[in-house]
Symmetry: C2
Subunit: 225 residues, 2 copies
């Protein structure tokens, strides 16, 4: 059956978060064509006839970073008529969390992409600022409902590193003692018998996420100061 109805360009845009040097960053590409040449943009791509928007987002992510099997979450559809002055394009935004020690740096570097700290973003094209804000809310929401870090930190990490990640995500400090107690009480971390001695004199135990992926979180977990 053929529907006699308008067809539209549908794109996906990926808000790609990474964590590096104590800062939450996101990956942006310089735009080299008019209009708005010189500004920065999210990486996107058009949805094809034979794929879901989730597939399209994965495809875009793999094409640009070399990564597959990455955690992604749908943010929202952005569809104001004039959002892209060049053409009518509806965009479905996705938030992706990637580990900066794993992406294909060669590939990313070639394309001119750079990591930008979330609180020091450059000028962005179209409504990409709004899309990023949405992706950031999605990330915060996820981080308060379950313990994230597996997607952003190295395999083994100290509780300080995890805390700094959360401080970057929520842009506010957490009390070290309370953070430690809360996080450990969730029972999703396993202490290793190795210590990190580079970031403190005393040395801090490394932790890792213990396999049992799905713990039933009853409620919002982060109300820590």
């Amino acid at each position: 059956m053929v529907y006699n109805h308008p067809k539209l360009h549908v794109a996906v845009d990926c808000v790609i978060f990474g964590y590096e040097e104590g800062e939450l960053k996101l990956l942006l590409w310089p735009r080299d064509i008019e209009p708005e040449s010189g500004k920065w943009s999210l990486m996107g791509g058009f949805v094809q006839e034979s794929e879901s928007v989730e597939n399209a987002a994965m495809r875009v992510l793999q094409r640009t970073t070399g990564l597959k099997d990455v955690y992604m979450e749908q943010v929202a559809a952005f569809s104001e008529v004039g959002r892209d002055p060049g053409a009518r394009v509806i965009s479905i935004a996705f938030a992706a969390l990637i580990r900066v020690d794993k992406y294909d740096k060669e590939l990313v570097h070639q394309s001119g992409a750079l990591w930008w700290p979330v609180n020091k973003l450059p000028e962005l094209i179209f409504d990409h600022g709004e899309i990023i804000a949405g992706g950031f809310r999605t990330l915060q929401s996820r981080a308060s409902n379950e313990l994230i870090g597996k997607e952003l930190l190295p395999d083994k990490f100290t509780l300080m590193q995890l805390r700094l990640l959360y401080e970057a995500i929520f842009q506010r400090p957490f009390d070290p003692g309370n953070f430690r107690k809360k996080v450990l009480s969730l029972g999703v971390l396993e202490r290793l018998n190795i210590k990190n001695t580079t970031e403190s004199k005393k040395g801090a135990y490394y932790y890792k996420f213990n396999g049992q992926d799905e713990v039933a979180y009853n409620d919002r977990i982060f109300k820590i100061h």
Copy 2:
């Protein structure tokens, strides 16, 4: 500029919630064409060249219920390739809350639509069951982050009516005393000097939402049993 990329049918589907007789219901239409004739469906419509998806959803809602200026929230995009066997259609789902005392009953009745209790739904076409589940989660999420009822209850209502609404939304009982204290502590309700004497012997004060629409909710508000 013309983009040399695929164009797709983009639809909106509205999950329309109403509250009546102590039950949370949603409005469904019988499908009278093959395939899946006889099953029920959400009301939807195609997004036009010159409108945002939000506009399209509003338009669909107004066309089917006569209502405008209704609270709506985007749920998510549903885009599996085979979701509509007739054609490739991406659907953006919206959740709408309407007051059953305000919609155009004539219009709705003509179209054959019926209100179905959320826990006794008929067979649904395509992935509309999944879409409804998403809309329901969106509703619950909103109801736990702020006090809803303005959109679903009459202008004046008793605290019992409000509680029954919340019990319908969360499908579990709330303690009457605790519910009352929590709700009143939010400071968004104003007590009227009228009593409802039809639903209890003693009579219960009517309340209404006081104008100041936006109260800053710091945290999830409903953790009441």
